[in-house]
Symmetry: C2
Subunit: 345 residues, 2 copies
Amino acid sequence: MSNIRAVAELAGVSVATVSRALQQPDLVSAKTKAKVLAAVEEVGYKPNLMAVKFRSGKTHNLVVLVPTVANVFFARVISGMQQAAAEKGYSLLLANTQGDQEIESSYAKMVQTSQADGLIQLRAHNPFGEVTDDQSMLPMVNACEVLDQQRFPTVMLDNRAAARCMTEHLIKLGHRRIAMVKGPQRSPLTRDRLAGYQDALTAAGIAFDEQLLCPGNFSLQSGHKAAATLLALPHPPTAIFCENDEMAIGVVQRVKQSGLRIPEDLSVAGFDDISFAAYCDPPLTTIAQPAEEFGSTAVNLLVDILQGRLTKAPKVILPFELVLRASTGPAPVTVALSQKGEQDV
Amino acid sequence: MSNIRAVAELAGVSVATVSRALQQPDLVSAKTKAKVLAAVEEVGYKPNLMAVKFRSGKTHNLVVLVPTVANVFFARVISGMQQAAAEKGYSLLLANTQGDQEIESSYAKMVQTSQADGLIQLRAHNPFGEVTDDQSMLPMVNACEVLDQQRFPTVMLDNRAAARCMTEHLIKLGHRRIAMVKGPQRSPLTRDRLAGYQDALTAAGIAFDEQLLCPGNFSLQSGHKAAATLLALPHPPTAIFCENDEMAIGVVQRVKQSGLRIPEDLSVAGFDDISFAAYCDPPLTTIAQPAEEFGSTAVNLLVDILQGRLTKAPKVILPFELVLRASTGPAPVTVALSQKGEQDV
DNA sequence: CTAAATGATGATACCGGTTACATCCCATAG
DNA sequence: CTATGGGATGTAACCGGTATCATCATTTAG
């Protein structure tokens, strides 16, 4: 591998001149520049950017902690990050953490060991652990699923408002027994969406029924399973609101397997608006999130921090949109309901 | 940021001793080691791994060129890579190239500029361009969609055999007008799957009809559009074989919109077996590919090259599996066919 | 005509580790 | 008692750039 000294020697100049000819061409005379460029060409010189990064102390790498890249929503987020990072001259180091704190910590070390300049965490957990001194300035941005602490800059949706919006939509359609299929237990995201759901119920004077809450883990399978549980209830729901589209698609399948029609007998709603949501049968009513924008905003925020343009930790809230499709419809009339109730009993 | 010299000073030893105490503890006496570790702890020393990488000339980074991470199949491949890379002590630098050669080349430069040790390309294109001297030893592995050249190690499916297998399945069900929804034109992958399709037709004595070939780009939308085109034919197909599941799901939706039943009136088959395939209505018959294994195999191969364990460029062929679900069934009887023909005319 | 300013280039310290080699000390063999 | 050997540690070169400062030539101002 040819280095800058080889170029300097061939061009008959010093290494400093070669460096200048390439980095600040204005400081070098035209004919020297020509000699240098010819020498660069001849030896096929490619600067060792590892050396540059080492010298400068800036890696221009960003670590991204993703629970799972094999998730359509996160894939879109990453896509947005990738785009923004490329524009700013940064590269992404992608870490598939499976939500494992050990794995997250090991990747967070890349920041501490100067292998990356900053980190983006897509899960509500601080991968740096409980460092004693002020970590307020740790170069981390928290996106999508965010921590409650105000410490880090965050990019999030108003999950509570979004869930309330969807629930209100269902209530407006006449539903009063609305089930919710939740995400992982401990997540603030799930807690917020649940709160929004309850807000809407309370506002409409509908009693909260714990039986209508069903655990899930954002997978198709868990949606399928949740639907089975809900349909087996003595008094099953007339609408099922899922915390993501994958689970909703799982629910849709299970509901149809049981012979019920969507939305005539039961309405189903999702969250995220992944591309498959529009290709469901029936197409899925859902909450659209600007996934790519989550990614790009997170990257831009992080770069702002790294370049010292940010002193306070901002909290960016991105807009959501209620997307009405055919999977939600008017609640079945009471007659139908009691019929179904009789069948089930 | 504290460095090794600070530790050495505090511990009252030389930097070499600190380095040894951390890297080759056996060479250092017990009490010196204790002093060093105490000093490390006290100053909160974290080695600058950028310096190590620079010094060693090994970055332990691998660039991955992905046409689009927002693709369920590729997301699984990446997931497999991530896993294998972590085990081998490598990090992935993910590049979302959108199939753009310029973007690919710019990321390939990371290898040439010592920012990464090797590269994995998931598309059939040489991102290094036509370098003159032997690039037989360029540290690149080609996976999924592979180049025809034998130059690089590859990990692939026998796409021709897989397509033939699926086509034969359809023929065995009595279908004789089988459409194919293709991927991007220039791709060897598409060419191979087409060849397999033709192999099966030829073997069964069915004439190849160009009208039954439909272009696509692996998206849900393109499948939807392709189905519209095919259904409008004077003599429409009784089965549609798509080169990936997304397109098949798009096809399914369009077919149902036109009032046809799947599989009674028309069979649909996909390729890849993404998770959504099993949650379609009806669940999709498809070819399962070991996506994660593509990723892990590619990484392991690349690491083998980097560590000099490989001289020849191997070609790994991973197994596929025909997954039979409910979207394919016996071809409609001729009566039904001619009826439909009359309706369309 | 001399002094100062400007422009072009060279010499070299530096970033933070690793490691080859040198040095020193002590134990054991002769 | 001395020579040999090995264990423990120190010294400093090295990786490949960048950037500071010095140097030298040339031009411009006084």
